[in-house]
């Protein structure tokens, strides 16, 4: 009897542990207060390239051809982009974001690689775009930081952003709205 009771207590304790783990996961996914002041406003960018599928995908980004993906376009010379890179690498919740990839636009490959290594972006799928030639040629994107969302390799939207958690929330909301749309039209 005692042994059954003690294992029942253990099961409850494991339940508490799971709740703690889920709480940590949840807090990593929502914007946090008390940190450095940064805008959580997400501005959709109007570009005529919505729906465009690139002719070729650079190495490191080819997984964006399938499923949902989000490409963060950063520049080695912009301060906001350094802040975004730090948000990505310092917040484990963002590192868990499987669909994320990073494009670093830099004057040359050496500068881009330095940006990647300085901010610990190595394990995140990434590509150093010299002078931003690929992202400008394919999507006419000339500013940073910008997030490009893809579905099956097609550009779905482009956003100007500063806060990664707010960006994720906006993307998630947009996808939920898009999923509800056929239901509404069908009913």
């Amino acid at each position: 009897m005692l042994i059954v009771l003690s294992f029942a207590v253990l099961v409850l304790a494991i339940g508490v542990l799971v709740l703690f783990a889920m709480m940590g996961e949840l807090s990593a996914r929502v914007p946090q207060g008390g940190g450095p002041e940064r805008s959580t406003v997400i501005v959709p960018l109007e570009t005529e390239r919505i729906g465009h599928s690139p002719g070729h995908w650079p190495p490191g980004l080819s997984h964006l051809k399938q499923g949902d993906g989000c490409l963060l376009v950063l520049s080695s010379s912009c301060t906001s982009c350094q802040d975004v890179a730090m948000q990505v690498t310092r917040n484990p919740g963002h590192l868990e974001w499987q669909e994320m990839a990073v494009l670093v636009s830099a004057f040359d490959a050496k500068t881009g690689k330095e940006f990647v290594s300085t901010h610990g972006l190595g394990p995140v799928p990434h590509y150093v775009d010299e002078r931003g030639s690929w992202v400008t040629g394919e999507f006419s994107i000339r500013q940073s930081p910008v997030a490009l969302t893809f579905s099956g390799g097609q550009l779905m939207a482009a956003y100007s952003f500063h806060d990664v958690a707010a960006l994720r929330a906006a993307i998630s909301e947009t996808r939920q709205d898009a999923a509800r749309q056929p239901e509404r039209t069908g009913s």
Binding site: F7, A13, V18, F20, A28, T89, P92, E96, P123
Partner: protein, 185 residues
């Protein structure tokens, strides 16, 4: 529980060692199952081919850790589970050493999203403790299964809740602070 099945002082010590080992394995295992991406990326940082495998191996390893923890508390499976825990400890230590040698910078995520230290000496130390605990378990005299399991399961429950509170202290702290409330009609 028969009268002859009393736990000696050494038996209590072994139950405590098992409980602490099981608590470490359970905390790490649950974290790996629920948040595999952080550890996957930190391992990929020191061993790049690992990134291709995705989060599944991390989840599988987390499940194995949980199974090891539960087996450690069941009397008959105690010694084999202790050997497995020692082997896992050796792997953690090697991974920590690799992280240290290769200058890992990403958060480890070994105990969930709250583990912000990169792979390094802390993992070496945790691994070494698990190896020593495994050695202590395997060299200890047999203990009566019933009382051992009862005591070690209760100790593990306490240790798991305490370690969960400690790991989540940054989340719990703000919730405990009282805020002044103004009564308005």
């Amino acid at each position: 529980m028969g009268r002859d099945a009393r736990v000696t002082a050494a038996g209590w010590e072994i139950a405590a060692v098992s409980a602490l080992t099981a608590a470490v394995l359970l905390s790490a295992g649950v974290a790996k199952i629920l948040s595999p991406g952080v550890l996957m990326r930190s391992v990929a940082e020191v061993f790049p081919p690992f990134a291709r495998l995705g989060p599944l191996p991390v989840r599988v390893f987390g499940s194995i850790e949980c199974a090891m923890a539960i087996s450690l508390l069941a009397g008959p499976a105690r010694v084999p589970a202790a050997v497995a825990a020692a082997v896992a400890g050796g792997m953690f230590a090697i991974l920590g050493g690799l992280g240290r040698a290769r200058g890992s910078a990403l958060p480890c995520g070994c105990f969930g999203v709250g583990s912000r230290r990169p792979l390094g000496w802390m993992n070496v130390a945790t691994g070494a403790v698990l190896v020593l605990a495994g050695l202590a378990e395997t060299t200890a005299r047999p203990v009566p299964a019933g009382p051992y399991s009862t005591a070690s399961a209760l100790f593990t429950a306490i240790a798991v809740v305490c370690s969960g509170c400690w790991a989540s202290r940054q989340l719990i702290g703000p919730l405990l602070r009282t805020r002044s409330v103004t009564a308005e009609g």
